[in-house]
Point group: C3
Chain length 178, copies 3
């Protein structure tokens, strides 16, 4: 799976924090029953890797992304647990190297133009605006989507994965984000 | 031209995106007739480099800056087309190296204090706040202008190039930005 | 002193800019009389290092942090003047190396998730949100506090040093920041 395939799985990807691995499969099964075939399990809890392992083993119809991947070592651990791709809150050289070594699809978080230019220079051109509502929301998407069209034919059209707290704000995001 | 000379060309620099190279010279001529002697042509279109070439050849009275320079390779291309200096949305090591190799004046975009400190460590001390209205506007200018006065005589007084969408917001910017 | 000890000195640390070194000790003595036993002296003035020297010599009961440390060379200068620890507006590799070489406690400023991940990869896990009110305020603290809990036992609980202009905003900060 590459980053484009990851982003085309669903217009909205639920982010799930699982505190008890025993609840992982029931949670994923409930989401699947509701039509959700992709979830991002955050590595914010000690149960996260086990949760990814259980869901991918029991529910092959669900694609699991590992989220909140902050340390390079977590890339390999997440993939070993069954994660189909990696999502990070930020973009660092260390994470870029780790996903490249593993050949994993990666959606790095960015918040500034420098983050984006650094990502482009490293060969990545699919980004997640994070924390989206804090760093400028749809206005940031508009500003960042404009600049980096290249002059040399290698233009890129950013697809953004955005998260926003109040569900009522979603309409403002979706036309841009999906 | 160095960065200070670039910033002293005009209190406000219009940013122009040219989709049709044939319209480059008429556009620049109209701006010149209105008293504008410096424009930033963004590399957001395939016509941008040709537009820079046409304007600098036909209207030597107009100084052209290449804007939205995202990739190191675009630095040399922009200068070859006739650009007098380079403007970028962000600050990366790769771009810093490219402008240094070419001996070009550079106005890198910054959004955070870390961007600024990284720029200072690389020997740059003239910055563009980008996207200005998204990353804090005049309040960000005030916060960033304060800290990095050095203790050792090498103090710097930041001159900022700021962009803001609604013209009505300009008065809030100008006392700081110009 | 390590970063945790620095942050536990006081729930709020006053940031002081001293333009006249002769006023350093009287200012610190007045703060001490009011119960303030730690102050951050910013390196924004030529008097700053001398001010740190005077305060630490005359008032050993006061802990002085050097603030606005932007250049690697300022780390050693600040410690030599008597500063107990280093506070910076941003986080760069150069500053990280300098504080490591000197064995100094450091509170680097961060504004984005990439800043934080870079800091974690360099071995630092205590941060200052800067400029706090510009980069998202308490909402940024909440967003940043959530992600980087590790899966492997090396979890971190961020303690933030926040600054905010209107005193009326303090209650919104304190439950999170202190």
């Amino acid at each position: 799976m590459n980053a484009d395939e990851m982003l085309s799985l669903s217009p909205v990807i639920p982010v799930v924090t699982i505190h008890d691995a025993a609840r992982a499969v029931p949670t994923a099964r409930a989401l699947l029953a509701g039509g959700v075939r992709v979830i991002e399990v955050t590595l914010r809890t000690d149960s996260a890797l086990l949760a990814i392992e259980h869901i991918t083993r029991e529910l092959p119809a669900v694609t699991v992304l590992a989220g909140t991947v902050c340390h390079a070592s977590q890339v390999k651990e997440s993939l070993a647990a069954g994660a189909a791709a990696i999502v990070s809150p930020g973009l660092t050289d260390a994470l870029a190297t780790a996903v490249e070594v593993e050949g994993a699809a990666w959606l790095p978080g960015v918040a500034t133009a420098s983050d984006i230019l650094r990502g482009l220079a490293l060969g990545f051109d699919r980004f997640k605006l994070f924390p989206a509502s804090v760093v400028g929301g749809p206005a940031a998407l508009r500003a960042f989507a404009a600049p980096p069209a290249a002059s040399s034919g290698s233009r890129w059209d950013a697809t953004w994965s955005s998260t926003t707290s109040p569900a009522s704000a979603a309409p403002g995001w979706l036309p841009k984000a999906c």
